[in-house]
Symmetry: C2
């Protein structure tokens, strides 16, 4: 039997960005890949590739959650693929899978490294969204670190993003008043309209931290839970508004990802507010809750099926646009989960 | 029966400080006070008066833990007194009591507002120290927010102070490696000598945050628990050294009490470190654990009696030196608990 050979297109992480990431920092490489497989292996054809803020965090010089992403290899990341060929009894050609295969059109890996998806149960892209890493981050971040109680006021920054829009919905279901912070009037209208939040603040509409803080204070009346995806000046405005025994969930600091990790900005000290309010700030990361994915599937998946919880997708068409799509995250160009469709 | 009249000397909080607090901000007032008492009341003669960093926090314009301390009234604070006259069945002349009577030589109050002390069980001053507010802060702050485990590395700032020196000892008993940070070689020698800590860092010996951080890193090898009494540049050095799942206990930020509460300093952002290390920072305050004083008396008091845990005292003699004594806290002039002896 002769082997079938495919052209594997790969985005190689080639140069470390110091500011905004984009096409300059990647090289497109084409290499042949065939369907000769070791026992248990499969050949995958990528269908949807994920772009996530954490990718930019891993491009800093200093150790963050991880050592820096190595240069000269395929950009790592989540992928939803279809099986093209299989020597595993667990997977057949045509099957949909979730893997951590990175930015490439094809990959070979052992079936044990993949999670099989049921397209009849949920759209396959949900494995990169509400039923995947962003959903896990939102659910466990809010429930474990945010500890919402009915009547609490929850302020979410980056509220129109993948994690933020889920946190906002989970907060509403927990009985919280939810105020979303996002960039621009269109996102804010979406937050109070489609998402049904109790308020929305367009951070771009305010010239100073003080003015932004006054509007968040006006809409929130004080903050019991601050779920923070953005950090920076938005957090400078929100944190002084925390109430007694508030919980701050440090989920992301996307405003700082274009250099502020290696060389932290100077900003007003905030820890004193934790003291005055006997409040807690906690950093959370999706990986710490992988072992509890059963809860996400038991509790959240039925809400997704019924439509009670949803995650909008911004889908960029074309493998070649991956670096551009990553860049879009930092321009706030997405609502909900940003994905690249390969074909 | 004729009344006996005493001269009550009172330190009135008269002017709000903007920087260092001292005699300029207080007025000494003398008023007569007699021993005519309502049913249940006692007349007290103060013996030891407390000076504590929180007093300076309450002198800021903005709301902190509390509304600002009112001007024109006696400086509030803890006091150990003896009963001079009593119309309460619960207290007799000569009895020792703890109360919140403030900076005055005499006071009348209802017996129900006082806690009777047993001088045979523990030195009466311990009610203002290891068995009082500072001990409660240290014990519950470390146990509840620090959550020490054997083998953890605990770094304590302000380690030679009242709360810090107790936290360090409680940490050792919990099986932690304990590194203390304090100002000057004498305090550091006391930390590694008398207190038996595993290391001590003299923060005054380093010209930059980076140099201080390098020494804390060298001695600690990374930080599982940071019990912070000082904030400011010391915390800027320590927080980036936290390890995975570290706990930061925000107990005090004494470096910021001379203006930095009303107008926060600019400093490098730190919340990203909580994210990278999935760490927690929690503000704690003694008052939140008043209902659990029984634990302090059950667990800690026997260690104090046996001498296994101790709190040094720096005793300033003379009621007239109270404002000066408060100032001493911010000059780092005390080791252990700073008290003023009235007589």
């Amino acid at each position: 039997m002769t082997a079938t050979t495919y052209t594997n297109r790969q985005w190689i992480y080639a140069r470390q960005p110091t500011g905004r990431v984009g096409a300059d920092h990647y090289t497109l490489r084409e290499t042949p890949i065939d369907d000769r497989l070791a026992e248990g292996e499969v050949l995958l054809g990528a269908r949807y590739l994920s772009v996530d803020p954490y990718m930019r965090v891993q491009q800093h010089t200093r150790r963050t959650y991880d050592a820096p992403h190595p240069l000269g290899i395929v950009q790592q990341g989540g992928a939803v693929s279809q099986v093209l060929a299989s020597s595993s009894a667990a997977l057949r050609p045509g099957d949909w899978v979730l893997g951590y295969n990175g930015w490439q059109t094809h990959d070979k890996c052992h079936a044990s490294q993949l999670h099989k998806l049921d397209p009849a149960a949920a759209p396959v892209t949900s494995a990169l969204g509400v039923l995947g890493m962003p959903g896990r981050t939102a659910w466990f971040g809010l429930m474990e670190a945010g500890r919402p109680r009915p009547g609490d006021t929850l302020v979410v920054s980056g509220a129109a993003g993948a994690v933020g829009s889920l946190v906002a919905q989970f907060g509403k279901r927990a009985g919280c008043r939810v105020i979303g912070i996002a960039g621009g009037p269109a996102k804010c209208a979406w937050l109070t309209g489609r998402l049904g939040l109790d308020g929305a603040v367009d951070y771009k509409a305010f010239a100073s931290t003080e003015a932004l803080a006054a509007e968040v204070a006006r809409q929130s009346g004080g903050v019991d839970i601050y779920f923070d995806n953005v950090g920076g000046a938005v957090s400078d405005a929100v944190i002084p508004l925390i109430k007694l025994r508030a919980r701050i969930v440090v989920c992301g600091t996307i405003s700082q990802y274009e250099g502020g990790i290696d060389a932290p900005e100077l900003a007003p000290r905030v820890l004193q507010h934790l003291l005055f309010q006997r409040a807690t700030a906690q950093g959370i990361l999706a990986r710490d809750f992988v072992h509890r994915m059963d809860e996400l599937r038991t509790v959240v998946a039925p809400w997704v099926r019924s439509g009670e919880v949803f995650l909008d997708e911004t889908v960029v068409e074309g493998f070649e646009r991956l670096p551009h799509a990553l860049n879009m995250l930092f321009e706030g160009a997405n609502t909900g989960k940003l994905l690249v469709k390969v074909a």
